[in-house]
Amino acid sequence: MTPVPYFDVLKGLGAEVILTLTALVALTLDLASVRRAEMSVRSRTIGTTAVVGLLASTLPLWQQLNGPRMVLLGGTLAMDDLIIFFKLVIVALAVITVLISMDFDVGRHVGEYYAVLLFGAVGMMLLISAEELITIFVALELTSVSLYILTAFHKGELRSQEAAVKYFMFGAISSAFLLFGLSYVFGVTGATGLQAIQDAVKNTGGLAMSPLLATGLLFTIVGFGFKVAVVPFHLWAPDAYEGAPTPVTAYIATGSKVASFFILLKVLFIGFAGLQGSAFWGNFASGWTMLLAVTATLSMILGNCAAIVQHNVKRLLAYSSIAQAGYIFIGLVAATKMGANSVLFYIIVYALANLGAFGVVAALSSRAGGDEMQNFDGMARRAPFLSLLMLIFVLSLAGIPPLGGFFGKFYLFASAVQRDAQHFGLLWLVILGIVMSAVSLYYYLILLKHIYVIDGSDQSPIITPTYLNVALGLVALAVVALGVYPKPILELLNNFSYSVIAGLVR
């Protein structure tokens, strides 16, 4: 047995260790010193502690940047620049979520709230650095369990409890499917490392057709389908998004989505690299690209159409997230380096815009008395700055140039067109995506109409704390910057994604 490089493991887990310790500090601090203080003071103190811890956790990450690619302990911990970059993205999303939460009533258990939020971030970061099925499963469960807990945190609201029950149940079903799928994958390939699975699949040529492996693949995709909420596995999302406390909704819709999509990309592109099949029009072959093409189609159609009839803003954004997951799947269907890059780029843009949108909803709905559409009537006059930010986020989600969403979507569609460029095999999916984007514009504009055109009965100005305005402003700036000048991030991703797509190149 080779000696275990514990020191390297500890170094690789530096950020996670700091976050776990911060969570414990937050718990203790809340219990020991500020328990009797005012609610807002407690929330600010513990929130600031969490932000400091999150920022401190980036120190080991910066240090590892530009290091060599390392895969420790058979893939339970992988380190390269792509992974570190996405860990930084998770930290950024968590920081904004904490800032949104500080302005939001999260109930009496402030210390526990931030501790569980940080545990969730630890789970997401472990998920991102995992290249091995057991670690992926455990990290995914850590993320999910933290999010179930956070969803139920709004003790006063019945909606929160109902949302938690639904989220938990669908989450548990998805875990069961995922585990069942993974057991077959492990059984057929005899491996749990993604790279080892790829080798096993490729070495035994006949294995690709093994019905057991196909079943395992199907169940695994169903399991992940629940986690990223694509049709037909989306049923939990609207209720969970609407019922959860809004900062938690933002966290579910961004942090966990980024981590889940990242790991889904890795599982498909590394683990199942030999089993893509084909989703080309008139030339379908069984494999995961075909499955994803079907779910992408359903998600784009159903997500966008269901969003039109919504009158709750959080619910509208939930259906829009389902549709967005459909667009992201187009990049996965392309199954090329460009496809991988476009997916990675788009999940960052999507996460920032969605986080910003939910952040604005959190800040305004708690002061306007609700998160229904009519609560936002005339918001442009009451809170002009946040309304402007909302405009940017929503237009980015709709894919209007020159915002990040437009470029991201363009890149996704381009990657699908470039794949099989002679026969335009994936053009059907792209056309559907474009048509559905046009549909989505309709409901995004309805939301903006409520904010900008319709006058509300209440005209009193809404004042939000400066730190929140600055934080959300920075998110909006990033969304604009990614659209106007995406080159640096694209180059970054282009250099990084070699490790992900190596298995697909034949």
């Binding site: 455990v138 469960e141 909606r159 149940m169 069961a176 492990f186 059984g187």
Partner: protein, 103 residues
């Protein structure tokens, strides 16, 4: 040939249990029984894992099962807490009554 039990026999039993678990989730309206059915699903997957682990002569399957058992215990604790909290507010745990949020 010392034993006629094959890997397939184990997989079939595991598949049958998984199917029963899914059936339980669909049939029952009581959140508690749905949790029980979900536990059944996890156990079915565990059985397949142990059989595969033995078949492949690898320890990984058993390690994963150990983790799954621990996770299931944690998940059940959280899930039952959620159910109890819902019951306190609503005096019911039937999933048909979860209708505060609609369209």
């Amino acid at each position: 040939m010392t034993s006629a039990i094959t890997l397939n026999d184990y997989l079939i039993v595991s598949g049958l249990l998984f199917a029963l678990g899914i059936a339980g989730v669909i049939i029952r309206r009581n959140a508690l029984v749905i949790y029980m059915a979900l536990e059944m699903n996890l156990n079915a997957a565990n059985l397949a894992l142990i059989a595969f682990s033995k078949f492949n002569k690898l320890v990984e399957g058993q390690i994963l099962v150990f983790f799954v058992i621990a996770i299931a215990a944690a998940e059940v604790a959280v899930g039952l807490a959620i159910i109890v909290a819902l019951y306190r507010r609503k005096q019911t745990i039937s999933v048909d009554q979860l209708t505060t949020m609609r369209l």
